[in-house]
Amino acid sequence: MAETEAHVQSIEVVVNGERRAAEVEPRMLLVHFLRGELGLTGTHIGCDTTSCGACTVLLDGVPIKSCTMFAVQASGRGVTTVEGLRRDGALHPIQQGFKEEHGLQCGFCTPGMMLVSAALLEENPNPSEEEIRWALSGNICRCTGYQNIVKAVHWAARTMQSEQASEGVESELAAEGAA
């Protein structure tokens, strides 16, 4: 059975907007591909047992645990890691929120927390405390006690909404100016 012998497979994954082609063993986990092959060490390995959420990345925008998916499964799809959160050279509002509200201590859980939060805010721009805690219930933090993490997500939600509101006003003004 030739196809069951160890062999490598060609994959192509769009990581943080960049097309990355590689030859990997089918058994390689996505997290090892990101950290080992691409050097994106912002994705952490906490438990390696699908329990802690430290390894969370976004697969086509959806949070998944990269320690529990093979790299070959991500081929042809888009992966966002914490390194890809920055927009136009500026911190993503969720990153600013964690900074402003002291949403981290050791920082080990933080990449996973921020990616899940960013995905939540895409879907639900104004989440309640309950909705934030529920969304983050797959991510474990041993340091903060979670209070400031929830505050950080609220901070980001407010900031993103006021950014959008001011963009709205600007485009209205521009439209009026053009009229």
Binding site: E3, T50, T56, P63, I64, K65, M69, F70
Partner: protein, 271 residues
């Protein structure tokens, strides 16, 4: 493909049970057949009053589905109680059944709802009632070359409801005890009753004596009390870190009673 691989091949769906097992070397398949790119398997379809749940329907899709509310409430209520939100983005309903973990929640909810699975191999297709699918802990009657293509849930009639109660030590943990109930009324009496238990036996199973108590005694307080006691009698919990056997049996009784009262109120339109 699975035909050729025999016992060495395994289907990979959400990977949320299989990959952890492979890491622990409890499973070491020589080859995986990834079904995630097979089109058309990710839909929940209403058909003839019942449901067809494709093999790639994730826990998250069930959590969000409007179709699963009301008459299929047991399926709607169980979904957000499975593991954590990130695992729910990938794990599948059909994968849970094939995995057959007696602490898994889907099998109970679907047993209560009277579901069956459609299994397909190169040789053909067969339908397996869920009562017959589960053989033992992590063991089903599926052949190595069979793939579950969908789960079918029968029409419960217009006046039906259900719910799932789960005791867990923390959010995202496996059940210490789980109870699924699903009841249909017709002409003022109980036409179908499904009560199934999680984590209190070698497999998920229906508490048939408790179901019979409702079929015979109706959906009043007395019959509900009797059904709850019979469900507790049917449970075979083991004492472990999560609690003693007696405690778990008590939880089965109380959860069954509360769940049935809740469903009785909702199918009578009392909210």
């Amino acid at each position: 493909m699975l035909d050729r691989l025999g016992e060495d091949g395994k289907v990979l769906a959400g990977g949320q049970s299989l990959i952890p097992l492979m890491k622990l070397r409890f499973a070491a398949p020589a080859a995986l057949v990834d079904i995630n790119r097979v089109p058309g398997l990710d839909q929940i379809t209403e058909e003839g009053g019942g449901l067809r749940i494709g093999a790639l329907v994730r826990h998250k899709a069930c959590e969000r589905s409007q179709v699963l509310r009301g008459r299929f409430g047991v399926l709607h209520d169980v979904a957000p109680l499975i593991s954590d939100p990130i695992v729910r983005n990938l794990g599948t309903v059909a994968g849970s059944l094939a995995h057959a973990d007696p602490q898994g929640d889907w099998a109970s909810a679907l047993l209560a709802a009277g579901a069956e699975v459609v299994a397909r191999s190169a040789a053909g297709e067969r339908t397996i009632p869920l009562d017959e699918l589960l053989k033992g802990p992590f063991t089903t009657v599926l052949e190595p070359n069979e793939i579950v293509t969908e789960v079918r849930v029968p029409d419960p009639g217009s006046r039906a409801g259900g719910t799932y109660r789960k005791l867990e030590r923390k959010v995202g943990d496996f059940a210490t005890v789980g109870v699924a109930v699903h009841v249909s009324l017709a002409d003022g009496s109980v036409a179908r009753a499904g009560i199934a238990l999680t984590a209190v036996g070698p497999i998920n199973f229906r508490a048939t004596a408790a179901e019979q108590a409702l079929l015979d005694g109706g959906f009043g307080d007395e019959a509900i009390g009797a059904a709850a006691r019979l469900a507790a009698d049917a449970a075979e919990p083991r004492s472990d870190l999560r609690g003693s056997a007696d405690y778990k049996r008590g939880v089965v009784r109380i959860f069954t009673e509360r769940a049935l009262h809740q469903v009785a109120r909702s199918v009578r339109g009392e909210g």
